[in-house]
């Protein structure tokens, strides 16, 4: 018995060691980037490995906003796009998922099949046509081009359908008895109870919109319409040896996504669990 206890303790120690090791692999690049963003350029090029800056400075953060007057504008563009797309996704995907799960109408199965099929379409196939469609709609260089294609997502429609299939029917019937319409039932009964599912959607929709690179690259050439991803890329081109600036800009860019993740994280595992992937 003591032997097995000892073995137990050993295997625990190994597991912890692995966890700590991988945590280091994850954290070191971020900490290095964060620390670089607080160092003056001389210290950055000095060749020392110090994670705590000798000369701590906020100058880099100040400078990027001064040197690149559009930085604030890009921050605004990215925020607006991410917020609008997230809200649209939550609403539209849930509505569609609800209809497929709960409303009987001719074509229901066909629509479900189409939404499944759409998930198989690889992104590259849509690159060129999407550009031409935007050009024809005269949406190039507008928020429309940056938002519209990301306002709904087939994967989440599918997942919301799975969620609403398991949703207790009695609750809806009670709503019906109270004389609610379908819209009333959806907005006041079904949606509020779908919050864990919506939390996962919020995280992923926000990240997807916030981090999107290819679409802004294609649809936008006017610098004032850039998102932060594009801005960061041009910024890198202009200030290629000023890693203090690039890292400060990167940190500004990372913070909002981290905040969203930190806030919705508690629902997160539940959200994944609901997805029915398993």
């Amino acid at each position: 018995m003591p032997g097995s206890m000892q073995r137990f303790a050993w295997s625990r120690a190994i597991l912890y060691a692995l966890l700590v090791l991988y945590a280091a692999v994850t954290l070191v690049p971020f900490l290095w980037a964060l620390s670089s963003s607080f160092k003056p350029l001389e210290e950055i090029v000095s060749g020392k490995i110090n994670f705590i800056p000798h000369q701590f400075t906020l100058q880099n953060y100040y400078d990027i906003f001064v040197k690149e007057p559009l930085f604030l504008r890009w921050l605004w563009n990215s925020s607006l796009i991410a917020v609008v797309c997230t809200a649209a996704n939550i609403l539209f995907n849930s509505m569609a998922g609800y209809a497929l799960a709960r409303i009987e109408f001719p074509g229901n199965r066909l629509m479900f099949f189409l939404i499944l099929a759409v998930q198989m379409i690889p992104g590259q196939l849509t690159i060129v046509p999407a550009y031409l469609i935007m050009k024809n709609l005269e949406l190039l260089n507008t928020y429309g081009a940056l938002m519209l294609p990301m306002m709904a997502n087939a994967v989440f429609v599918f997942l919301m359908r799975q969620f609403f299939l398991q949703f207790p029917r009695e609750l809806e019937e009670a709503g019906e008895m109270d004389g609610m319409t379908r819209f009333g039932i959806f907005f006041r009964v079904a949606l509020p109870l779908a919050l864990p599912a919506l939390a996962a959607q919020t995280i992923f929709s926000f990240m997807a919109a916030w981090n999107e690179f290819l679409k802004p690259l294609m649809f936008v050439s006017d610098k004032s319409m850039f998102t932060l991803t594009l801005g960061l890329n041009t910024f890198k081109g202009q200030y290629i040896s000023f890693w203090n600036y690039i890292m400060a800009a990167s940190m500004v860019f990372t913070l909002p996504a981290l905040a969203i993740y930190a806030f919705f994280n508690r629902f997160f595992i539940k959200g994944i669990t609901f997805t029915g992937i398993k």
């Binding site: 690049p29 539209f92 409303i103 990240m207 981090n211």
Partner: protein
């Protein structure tokens, strides 16, 4: 009277159903469904973008051109090696991390949150951080120097650049699949393991006989999503090489090549033909995958 009411009811639920679906159908229809047909159409045409967009039918010319296009073959080779290297490793790493986190350890939520960090961060930022670390003057070389090794020009070596992006990609996507595996693992009833232990099954036996079969849907999901994701690799290559696919075409992926032909050379017909071929390859791989998983299930 009854019949009329039920007819009205049906009409109403049909209208409501489609009204609920309308926004999604518009978005997916315009930006995903329509483009499939549009790009097939484009792949048989030469597209003139000056003034009004116009098309000239060129039959199979765009497809025939591919066989002689050396960069297309390089891009395909790079993309394939990316998929073949990244998908198995990220799947295994994700499962390993999930299994460790699934053991009842203290602080496991903290570790989960930390591990997930790269997945939350945008690929643009990750790529910049990596360039900053791999840089000739960067952290990696300095660490090597402190242990007495010589630094190396990692970014300039075509033999290393793509591997660097691969590692970065595994590092940033494995945690997402880790969460998927973790959710699947938490669903396996502990009683199954207990009875296996009573039967004298060791750790490894428990893993292969209980865990692996029960998490098969999660594995399937991870592999399919991994293949789709890695085939589409674009952001990292673009940012890393400033859009060129260099050094010496070593980071050129199919998606980047399509982008270059479409928006640098303005050759949208040929770019579409490349996209159609790539889509066919991905579709084939996915179906093959499904077949493999199904057969294993029977066996």
């Amino acid at each position: 009277m009854m019949r009329q009411r039920s007819w009205k009811r049906r009409l109403r639920s049909t209208l409501t159903g489609y009204l609920f679906l309308l926004p999604t159908l518009l978005v997916l229809g315009t930006f995903l469904f329509l483009p499939v047909f549009y790009s097939t159409y484009l792949s048989f045409h030469k597209v003139n973008l000056l003034g009004e967009v116009s098309y000239k039918f060129v039959r199979w010319a765009n497809f025939e051109r591919m066989s002689g296009d050396e960069r297309a073959w390089i891009a395909l080779k790079n993309t394939f090696s990316f998929v073949v290297f990244v998908v198995p490793i990220q799947t295994a790493l994700a499962l390993l991390l999930a299994s460790i986190l699934n053991a009842k350890l203290r602080l496991r939520n903290l570790f989960r949150i930390v591990f997930f960090l790269p997945t939350v961060t945008s690929s643009a930022v990750l790529t910049l951080i990596f360039i900053w670390i791999y840089n000739a003057n960067g952290l990696l070389n300095r660490l090597l120097e402190t242990v007495g090794l010589k630094g190396y020009n990692w970014l300039g070596d075509p033999g290393v650049a793509l591997k660097g992006i691969m590692l970065m990609n595994i590092w940033s996507t494995a945690p997402f699949f880790m969460v998927v595996f973790l959710a699947a693992l938490q669903d396996i009833p502990e009683s199954l393991y207990e009875s296996a232990r009573l039967d004298g099954a060791g750790r490894w036996k428990q893993f292969t006989a209980i865990t692996l079969p029960l998490i098969k849907p999660a594995t399937f999901f991870t592999v399919v999503m991994g293949i789709i994701g890695t085939f589409q690799l674009f952001d990292q290559s673009y940012i890393f090489s400033a859009g060129s696919g260099g050094p010496n075409n070593s980071t050129l992926t199919v998606a980047l090549l399509i982008y270059q032909y479409a928006f640098k050379n303005m050759d949208m017909g040929y770019a579409s033909a490349l996209a159609v071929i790539l889509a066919a390859v991905i579709l084939f791989m996915t179906l093959l995958q499904r077949q493999l998983f199904r057969e294993e299930k029977l066996g």
